[in-house]
């Protein structure tokens, strides 16, 4: 039974002998080169000579992660584990700890992430961790993950991921509409 074709563009392969004109290949080579020369040579190049020139990043580019702090400089992440659950690459490892009295200015909730590691070699920058986070703690940014010589250095811990208090990372463009809407509800303690 002949196989049913999916499109009408299929061609039947034939095994007929090549003529001498076809055998010397030169005309075919000339034809190909002329396409390169007239068709593409004078077109604007799509490549950039990085790093001299750099492309502009989209505001929602999915680059390396940042762990945000809230307005008072407290870490937002509460080690709920949803990002690690959602991560298709299983790149995230979290160890939770209980906040001690006196640490209220460091951590937002009574539980916090004592260890938070992302293996950047495993991460596929899908952004699911950002999407799932109920505390708006993790965001992907427009920064890129730098190349390194050693594998272990690709495991980013809290020292690299948590933003510094003085130099916060702007993620306002990444916030979804529903989140901004939810934040207006002052019935919940964390929106006040």
């Amino acid at each position: 039974m002949a196989m049913q074709t999916l499109t009408n563009r299929s061609k039947v392969v034939s095994n007929k002998k090549m003529t001498l004109w076809e055998k010397i290949y030169l005309p075919a080579i000339v034809k190909g080169l002329s396409i390169t020369f007239f068709g593409h040579f004078f077109k604007r190049k799509v490549t950039f000579s990085y790093p001299d020139k750099q492309r502009e990043f989209s505001p929602v580019y999915r680059g390396r992660h940042v762990l945000k702090r809230d307005d008072q400089g407290r870490e937002r992440c509460t080690a709920c584990g949803l990002c690690a659950l959602a991560c298709p690459a299983e790149a995230i490892t979290i160890v939770a700890a209980e906040r001690k009295p006196g640490e209220e200015n460091l951590y937002r909730e009574e539980k916090y992430a004592a260890t938070y590691e992302i293996n950047m070699l495993r991460c596929i920058f899908c952004g699911l961790c950002e999407e799932v986070c109920p505390k708006e703690a993790i965001f992907l940014t427009d920064q890129i993950v730098h190349s390194e010589y050693e594998r272990p250095t690709f495991i980013y811990g809290k020292d690299k991921l948590v933003e510094s208090v003085d130099n916060p990372v702007d993620v306002s463009k990444r916030q979804t509409k529903s989140v901004l809407e939810f934040k207006k509800n002052t019935g919940f303690a964390h929106n006040r």
Partner: protein
């Protein structure tokens, strides 16, 4: 024996059976959810109202419908009764409203709460509650209280189901905690900060449908979906020693009593088994526990079970 129909399914039960238990005999989706009724505890039920059903025909002798929705956990089945649960839009709407009431003062705590992933209220909210809250008022916040080294109490999450009080009354010889105040101000408390210490007091953790009572010895150790449940047993002089171990790698993070398909414990276990035996060598492991596919816990992959058993020998 009497015969009744629940959601067009006929079932035969003994006289004196509640509608809820008759539905449980059928099983599956027609079973109403229960947040306060607990078949292992006397006098439980009638508080949360999530088990409301519609009685379209009271009995064979009296074919009139019941005027209002009734709590299936505390209404006896009658011969010839016709009950509607998921086939009645009225019931589903009422249940949705009840869930909204339960959530009215409930904190948005799931990311922090150790019960998340095995919480009846979370499941209910997911299936009935709408995403948004309609209240703008502040949620009630209770002063937190330390009730000893084993059990963590979070009053804000309590839904006032009285299960823990019934457990303490019926299982232990001295109940030291109870419900204080009335209505909106009601809270679970020991009145003066007194620790709940009794050989079987840990069972109030298992009966609590929400995260108001959680295990302090495994507090924040892991989220439940990163741990793997194993059936295990040991020789215990106080209880029958059959438990579920929640493990991560070779570490026993938490010990609970095994739960049946209605979410109730099969039997109560003692505090020694629950809180003090946290080594693999304390236990004989029987095998991985079957978890419903729909549960987030089933995302775990069972590996190394043979290795565990070998190490034990």
């Amino acid at each position: 024996m009497i015969k009744l129909t629940i959601d067009n399914i006929e079932v035969e039960v003994e006289e004196g059976t509640t509608i809820l238990n008759a539905a449980r005999k059928i099983g599956g989706k027609v079973v109403p959810p229960a947040m306060c009724y607990y078949s292992k505890l006397d006098c439980s039920g009638g508080k949360c109202r999530v088990c409301l059903v519609k009685v379209a025909q009271s009995s064979a002798k009296d074919p009139r419908p019941m005027p209002k929705l009734v709590a299936s956990c505390s209404t006896m089945a009658q011969d010839g009764m016709v009950v509607q649960n998921i086939t009645s839009p009225e019931v589903l709407e009422a249940r949705k409203a009840i869930v909204e009431f339960l959530l009215l003062n409930h904190p948005l705590d799931c990311p922090v709460c150790d019960q998340a992933g095995e919480c009846d209220l979370q499941d209910l909210a997911y299936s009935f509650g709408s995403e948004n809250t309609r209240s703008r008022e502040e949620r009630s916040v209770h002063k937190q209280e330390d009730i000893g080294p084993y059990i963590q109490l979070n009053k804000n999450r309590c839904i006032l189901c009285y299960r823990c009080i019934n457990t303490a009354n019926q299982l232990t010889d001295q109940r030291v905690h109870g419900m204080l105040f009335r209505g909106d101000h009601a809270e679970i408390s020991t009145y003066i900060e007194k620790s709940v210490e009794n050989d079987f007091s840990g069972n109030i953790i298992d009966v609590c449908p929400v995260g108001a009572l959680t295990d302090k010895t495994s507090r924040f150790k892991s989220r439940v979906w990163f741990t793997k449940p194993y059936d295990a047993h040991r020789e215990c002089p106080k209880c029958n020693g059959k438990v579920v171990l929640w493990m991560k790698g070779n570490e026993v993070l938490r010990v609970t009593a095994p739960k049946d398909k209605n979410g109730e414990v099969e039997h109560f276990i003692c505090n020694e088994c629950r809180f003090e035996k946290k080594e693999v060598s304390d236990w004989k492991i029987d095998g991985p526990r079957t978890i419903e596919r729909t549960s987030v816990i089933s995302l775990n992959h069972y590996t190394n079970i043979d290795k565990l058993n070998k190490e034990e020998k």
